[in-house]
């Protein structure tokens, strides 16, 4: 196997370098999990992503190919799960880009650029004997699946807390193992917010590292809960991106050190770099 298949990593093992061009891959399957679709693609030439890394996706057909058409730019998606030669992405049909991706069928072409960005830090030195607490909300559960796979394989294990709007969305919980669930309407698990479960877990045993991805208000609540208890947290943020590789400077988020490009210095940021996880324009 060549270097590309093995993957060259930088940034303390949190980034696998991407090949510099987008590559055309083929959709193998699209499976529905309630409100979400999992897109599984064959990616024989792609290097293995680190948990929390993302890729820029665009359908080969009907994606800015003609003039006057949206979607035009590729869309950023965290990797849901990776197997040798295959990638999975989780999407919810909420706009022109996800609408187009959600109608792809097996055999359809997809442009993939990635893996991109810096993922979660899961080295033994990061955990330092503490347990990993994974907190996900909505479609933000995606990078936690590959993270759980990694933590399971390493023997570290993880406690997984997931929050959803309702029963239709909580079907996505089937993508992870041994989960505790909260729903806004109480149709599945705890009625309330996933951060209620997080507070409960941290009160029970605060020796934890929190890994979170979800809508900005959830991430902000996680940030505050962890800051109050001095629990380290890594947050996978979202920001509209045009390119995914630092070219457009469009995805900046404010940190205590000024603006950083989320595609380059994130999408996973240590919570203590942020004054707020309510980043402008996210979740639009």
């Amino acid at each position: 196997m060549g270097a590309a298949a093995e993957g060259l990593t930088t940034d303390d093992g949190r980034r696998t370098l991407a090949p510099p061009g987008r590559r055309r891959v083929t959709v193998l399957a699209r499976q529905q999990f309630g409100a979400y679709a999992v897109l599984r693609v064959a990616d024989p030439g792609g290097p293995p992503p680190r948990p929390g890394q993302f890729a820029m996706l665009a359908a080969v057909e009907r994606w800015g190919g003609g003039d006057g058409e949206r979607p035009f730019l590729p869309r950023a998606f965290s990797v849901l799960r990776a197997r040798p030669g295959e990638l999975e992405f989780l999407l919810e049909d909420v706009g022109p880009g996800t609408n187009r991706l959600a109608e792809l069928e097996p055999g359809d072409g997809l442009w993939v650029l990635g893996p991109l960005g810096i993922g979660f830090g899961v080295a033994a030195s990061e955990l330092a004997g503490r347990r990993a607490l994974l907190v996900g909300g909505g479609v933000g559960i995606a990078p936690l699946a590959i993270l759980q796979d990694e933590l399971t394989a390493s023997g570290a294990g993880a406690t997984v807390l997931l929050g959803f709007r309702d029963g239709l969305h909580s079907a996505g919980a089937a993508l992870l193992r041994e989960t505790r669930i909260a729903t806004d309407d109480g149709s599945h698990g705890h009625e309330g917010l996933v951060t209620d479960l997080l507070a409960e877990e941290l009160d029970r045993d605060p020796a934890a590292v929190v890994y979170a991805c979800g809508p900005p208000p959830m991430l902000e609540a996680v940030r505050v809960l962890c800051a109050e208890r001095e629990v380290p947290a890594q947050l996978a943020l979202e920001s509209g991106m045009a390119c995914g590789f630092g070219a457009c400077f469009g995805c900046v988020v404010p940190t205590r050190d000024g603006y950083v490009r989320l595609c380059l210095d994130g999408p996973v940021l240590d919570a203590d770099r942020l004054d707020s996880a309510l980043t402008p324009g996210a979740g639009h």
């Binding site: 061009g21 006057g68 035009f72 730019l73 991106m241 630092g246 070219a247 400077f249 490009r261 324009g281």
Partner: protein, 309 residues
């Protein structure tokens, strides 16, 4: 599939700089240092441009505009980035050594808020052998007169006259399309001693929040780019080519070799790729190869005269 033509079949001379092909990047649309972080050394092996134009450098560091900075359009986008950069000192210390290591010539884009500031920037690069040419971003207000430097022929001429004696390097003036008569500005820049012109910069645009109706962009307005501006670029390039004898770097919505070929036929010497690189980092290389393929089918155009009624 036709065999891929080689971009090496398109050697191009621009202001005395010998380039492998006529495809470069638009300033601020490709960060080679960031791309090296994402792609590693493989980037240099497949570097997509024949010359690299760096992001605008200002005298002082700039954070750029507050987010959100992007809005997607049908066939394009609005960006409101606000020229974040490390400032001249930071650029010289951190960026220039890295960019000088690229396998292609380096063109440095500079912008100042007064003529003195621009002069200081030009002077700083005048003797740097790493720098092949300088591009002046004139799409900003002169804080002394309140006028966008590049929107007014007299302002543009005064700026070019001021900095022309400071360097023997080729001076490229990047025209703004947000001018009443870009052709007149082009002619003024030529008369004042510019060596080349580049166009078009982005076109002013705005978007509202889809739910609240408030401004979407942190900077309120931004610049429109992408396929949606291609026809505007072609018309302005043809106009300017009819007004000046200077070589032109043409850009605006180039996505395919055919789009680049159109701009070359309209009178450009080089073509810059911008927004398309956001969709595909190696778009520049693909477009150069497509252009070489077109050249195999039809020879390079001579000067084209467009017939106006």
């Amino acid at each position: 599939m036709t065999p891929l033509a080689s971009a090496a079949d398109l050697p191009t001379s621009f202001c005395g700089i010998e380039l492998a092909h006529p495809i470069v990047n638009g300033s601020g649309t490709f960060d080679a240092i960031a791309a090296r972080r994402a792609f590693g050394p493989a980037l240099e092996e497949t570097f997509p441009f024949a010359a690299f134009v760096s992001k605008t450098v200002t005298l002082m560091p700039r954070q750029g505009n507050p987010p959100p900075r992007l809005w997607e359009l049908p066939g394009g986008l609005i960006n409101s980035i606000g020229l974040p950069n490390k400032g001249l000192a930071g650029y010289l210390t951190h960026d220039l050594p890295e960019l000088a290591a690229l396998p292609v010539p380096l063109i440095v884009n500079v912008m100042g808020f007064t003529r003195d500031e621009v002069a200081e920037l030009v002077r700083a690069f005048a003797e740097r052998e790493e720098v092949a040419a300088l591009e002046l971003n004139v799409s900003c207000p002169n804080v002394e007169t309140g006028l966008i430097m590049g929107a007014d022929p007299t302002e543009t001429a005064r700026l070019v006259e001021r900095v022309r004696p400071l360097t023997t390097k080729p001076l490229i003036v990047k025209l703004t399309p947000n001018a009443t008569d870009p052709g007149a500005v082009a002619a003024a820049a030529e008369a004042a001693g510019a060596d080349a012109l580049s166009l078009i910069n982005t076109i002013r645009g705005m978007a509202l929040h889809p739910r609240t109706g408030d401004q979407w962009l942190g900077g309120v307005t931004g610049g429109v780019s992408g396929a949606t501006v291609r026809a505007v670029a072609l018309a302005q390039v043809a106009d300017v080519a009819g007004r000046v004898r200077l070589p032109l770097v043409a850009m605006g919505g180039v996505q395919r070799g055919r789009d680049a070929d159109d701009l070359l036929r309209a009178g450009a010497t080089l073509v810059a790729v911008g927004t398309e690189s956001f969709r595909d980092p190696l778009a520049g290389a693909r477009i150069a190869a497509e252009l070489a393929g077109l050249r195999q089918e039809a020879p390079a155009p001579g000067a084209v005269a467009f017939h106006r009624p």
